[in-house]
Symmetry: C2
Subunit: 224 residues, 2 copies
């Protein structure tokens, strides 16, 4: 069984925001899709370890914001590479609030789809929230796909079609005790680069998780 077959499924990239337990938060997600047309219903998959999941369960509301193709990469890092348990992700970024009080990004989005949760299914690592659309706004922007996100990430976040943000000096062997190896998450494609991280992959604790999709260390394979 080749688990990398799952990489051939196509997704978009979204910021899912909510207001719950008296605070706001948001996270990156790729599992957002329409599951019924009459009535219009969406499925939204959120990792059970994430704060956003906890807040959505509390409030029953969320807003899906479709990231646009040229969204600044630090918007993705802000919402995807850190937890709202440690930082206020909305501290210094422009946002408005929708009728439910969910934060809505002012820039970088191709659509806003506000939802009311009408059901939730425990599907393993994630909860699949079944939602009814309560409001929707479409912007005249091209959506970013998950494949394009990976392409941009490989190029240091550069815009698609732009010259890659390559360092002027070619990388040399790391002087930090690592082997300079790279490991890729088989689920989301995230690269753990020892040379950048400064910690050999083998030394990461067993409960270490992919910072993007939160799977365990064993889901990584070395990039040859």
């Amino acid at each position: 069984m080749d688990n990398t077959a799952l990489f051939q499924l196509s997704y978009g990239l979204y910021v899912v925001t909510t207001k719950g337990k008296g605070r706001i938060n948001g996270q990156i997600a790729n599992t957002v899709f329409q599951i019924s047309d009459t009535p219009v219903r969406l499925g939204v998959g959120l990792n059970k370890n994430n704060l956003t999941n906890e807040l959505v369960k509390d409030s029953g509301i969320l807003s899906v914001q479709v990231l646009e193709r040229d969204v600044p990469f630090d918007v993705i890092s802000r919402f995807g590479f850190q937890s709202g348990r440690n930082v206020d992700k909305f501290a210094d970024i422009a946002y408005q609030t929708n009728a439910d009080g969910c934060p809505i990004l002012v820039d970088g989005i191709a659509a806003q789809i506000d939802c009311k949760v009408i059901g939730a299914m425990d599907v393993g690592s994630h909860t699949l929230f079944i939602c009814e659309m309560t409001d929707a706004i479409r912007n005249d922007k091209t959506p970013l796909t998950y494949a394009q996100y990976h392409e941009r990430k490989k190029n240091g976040g550069a815009l698609l079609g732009a010259a890659a943000a390559v360092p002027e000096v070619a990388p040399t062997a790391p002087a930090d005790g690592t082997n300079g190896k790279r490991y890729q998450c088989m689920i989301c494609g995230h690269i753990y680069d020892e040379a950048k991280e400064g910690v050999p992959f083998a030394d990461l604790p067993e409960d270490w998780e992919c910072p993007i999709c939160h799977v365990k260390k064993k889901m990584f394979t070395e990039v040859k």
Copy 2:
């Protein structure tokens, strides 16, 4: 509320096949996604009116085949624009069968993901099948996205980047009693072109459905 905001969600394009009630069938679907990583689980949305849905409910097995970017367009037409209730979609196309007896296309696919259904949720027009992956094969092909499918459809099915299959003679006013207007499905983007169909949109019966996503006539808007 702008329902066209839903067009900004990204999908792939898949043939979902099954064996049930003593026969095989398959259909085009765009709602296939991974919903859990430990264990690996997928969500597959199938319209309740479709034969494939009925057969999957009977057998509890299905296979997702990821269409590749350059799949011949008639593979999409074969599985998407007609019903297995009227034709044998596998009558004259090369296929193998997997361990469960589901048909697997020999050509035009970027991955094959065999599944066992472990749950089903009635979500309105569609059933959302929750599946465990039982086998998977990845081919060295680029997957077709739903957006690319629409691009190809607009160009008469031509490959991406190829010259559009435009008629040599510019179209003139239709001589068939229609107004030559075009109507687009707000859900899947399908175009009903009066000039091609020969029947004015207004004359279609009220129970007429989008041939792609099966929504009702009222979900179409005129293309200006």
